[in-house]
């Protein structure tokens, strides 16, 4: 470990970390919005399940390097290219979790909500989505941690956050930069995971009292 290098590059490390967080946040946020749309389509009409599941499944199985290689000729070496790739990988996980959450709302809850005169949108917002929270939170945890790892790969197309730090470390045989990049990334993943768990707990007080 070259502590002098670390001391001299605190600003760069911090900037790379912020980049990493921003890349991850955009990917998870956009991925969540798209997945929520997909999940609601599927929940309303099961016929959408096959096509959406197929599409997100295929995206998920494309190796990340190959996906970026395919995208670069179209969208160039850009943030957009990175985010298209990152978002693609969140869709399968998030869509499946949200659908499972909505499907898991017990029939008698749905029946009593309908019977008391909830409109479809009132029921979705006040009943179905809150009750899906535990599964949605589980999906967000997996998607976020996965995305934090994948952001590293986007270093190859000029983005990458902490991945960029590591890539340059490899190229210049500066192993301190490699270690710092790896350790901070792992730390970031752990912190993000714990933060989502904490938010999930605050958002679902009923699951804790027995």
């Amino acid at each position: 470990m070259n502590w002098d290098w670390i001391r001299g590059n605190v600003g760069a490390i911090a900037a790379a970390t912020v980049d990493h967080v921003v890349l991850t946040s955009i990917a998870v946020a956009v991925g969540f919005v798209l997945s929520l749309g997909f999940a609601l389509l599927i929940h309303r009409d099961r016929r959408f399940y096959g096509p959406i599941s197929g599409l997100t499944g295929v995206l998920y199985t494309i190796p990340s390097l190959a996906l970026f290689a395919l995208l670069v000729p179209i969208t160039g070496l850009s943030l957009l290219t990175a985010e298209i790739g990152l978002v693609s990988y969140t869709l399968l996980i998030l869509t499946r979790h949200i659908v499972a959450g909505l499907d898991g709302v017990p029939d008698e809850i749905v029946e009593s909500a309908d019977g008391m005169g909830f409109s479809a949108s009132q029921r979705l917002v006040q009943v179905d989505l809150p009750l899906s929270m535990p599964l949605i939170v589980a999906g967000l945890r997996i998607a976020t941690v996965t995305t934090i790892g994948l952001v590293m790969i986007t270093a190859l197309i000029g983005e990458g956050g902490l991945g960029n730090l590591m890539l340059r470390g490899f190229n210049f045989r500066n192993y301190t930069a490699v270690y710092v990049g790896a350790i901070v990334t792992v730390g970031l993943a752990v912190v993000a995971d714990l933060a989502i768990v904490a938010i999930g707990r605050v958002g679902t007080p009923w699951t804790r009292r027995r």
Partner: protein, 390 residues
């Protein structure tokens, strides 16, 4: 709050046999529930009773026919508006696990846009009404409550917006028999004040008899087999299906519909300590029920005296009274009265009022005779529920 009538006019629900779905068909159902009455739909599974219930709040749409609530065709109303005006209680309660008890009770008021303070007050009022201390229960979650408590909350929630009609689908089906019995009694007590029109579904004929002002017995295929007051169903089943469904003990079941205060009581010969013995003796020997009932100054029973034990001269004393009879509260059912009488030494029960004053005698023979008499008057609101205090 007063009820509205519920009328089914030639209502049918047919299902495509290939379609999935757990609901049963209903065939040409016509019946009318007067305002303020409880009508129980009862029958074996697959008889379409729940389907019929759910057609009222349009969770299931009829294939043909009309359902009128308060004279208005339900099909002509906005579906969410219709449902907000109908209380709905189901067996599994359907309480929202993510909301506190207070929030659960105030669900419909919230949908109706009541301000938060009024919702909160209403929730507390209703929790008290169903016997749950608001301070203790308001902020709990449903899974922290017992099954019986959850059912009470379910009833409170259905009452929240004071609906004129209420639909109850096996509301007490998921709790143990003792709790069920108590919930039934409490609900009947509430209904005396609220006088809603209630459609109540159960598969349990005993519950139907207990809860219903009117009972609709349905059979497979959604056909109405018989519709009438419970006593009529028990006394004169319309066909073999109804007879089998109400059970071989339907005579005994009828006994639980009538209370001691409803039957014409025999007047025993009574005397007080200090009365003239010879005169009492003459009266007893002339009476078809040849026993003397000794009573105190407040007309409370002391015990029986056999005619041969009555002195031929002098006055009566309290220590002559031996043995006693079961004391029957005038609100006790004939079924309970009979079971007490069969156990007792003297097969005559003494009907008493709240002050334990003697009202008259009930004998096992009288009860049996009353049951043989199929054409006797069905108790209804024209008959005083409380016999006058002496």
């Amino acid at each position: 709050m007063t009820g509205a009538t519920i009328q089914f006019e030639h209502v049918s629900k047919r299902y495509d046999l290939r379609a999935k779905g757990a609901s049963s068909a209903v065939t040409d159902l016509s019946l009318s529930v007067p305002a303020g009455k409880i009508c129980v739909l009862v029958g074996p599974s697959g008889c379409g009773k729940t389907t019929s219930l759910k057609m009222v709040n349009r969770l299931i749409e009829p294939t043909s026919g009309r359902i009128l609530v308060g004279g208005e065709d339900t099909a002509s109303k906005d579906v969410t508006e219709l449902r907000r005006g109908i209380g709905y209680v189901i067996q599994q309660t359907g309480l929202f696990p993510h909301q506190t008890i207070g929030e659960n009770v105030a669900v419909v008021p919230k949908l109706l846009g009541w301000p938060a303070i009024r919702r909160r007050e209403r929730a507390e009022e209703l929790l008290s009404l169903v016997g749950l201390d608001p301070a203790r229960y308001r902020d709990r979650y449903p899974q922290q409550l017992s099954g019986g408590e959850r059912q009470r909350v379910g009833v409170a929630r259905a009452l929240a917006a004071s609906p004129p009609i209420m639909l109850m689908d096996e509301p007490f089906g998921a709790v143990d028999p003792i709790v069920r019995d108590r919930l039934q009694d409490e609900f009947l007590g509430l209904q005396e004040d609220l006088a809603m029109t209630i459609l109540f579904v159960t598969h349990d004929i005993d519950e139907a008899i207990k809860m219903g002002d009117l009972v609709a017995v349905m059979q497979a295929g959604g056909n109405l087999a018989q519709f009438g007051p419970p006593d009529e169903i028990l006394a004169a089943p319309a066909d073999a299906f109804v007879a089998r469904f109400v059970g071989a003990d339907r005579g005994l079941k009828r006994l639980s519909l009538t209370v001691v205060g409803d039957v014409p009581l025999q007047s025993p010969v009574t005397a007080r300590p200090g009365d003239d013995a010879a005169q009492a003796r003459r009266r007893v020997i002339a009476d078809p029920f040849p026993f003397l009932l000794m009573v105190d100054d407040a007309n409370r029973p002391l015990g029986w005296v056999r005619p041969e034990d009555i002195p031929t001269a002098g006055t009566l004393t309290g220590d002559l009274a031996v043995g006693s009879s079961p004391l029957l509260d005038r609100r006790a059912t004939l079924k309970d009265a009979l079971s007490l009488l069969l156990d007792a030494d003297v097969q005559a029960g003494i009907a008493v009022d709240r002050q334990r004053s003697v009202l008259g005698l009930v004998t096992a023979d009288m009860i049996a005779e009353r049951m043989r008499d199929g054409a006797h008057v069905v108790p209804d609101e024209s008959y005083p529920l409380e016999s006058p205090e002496p």
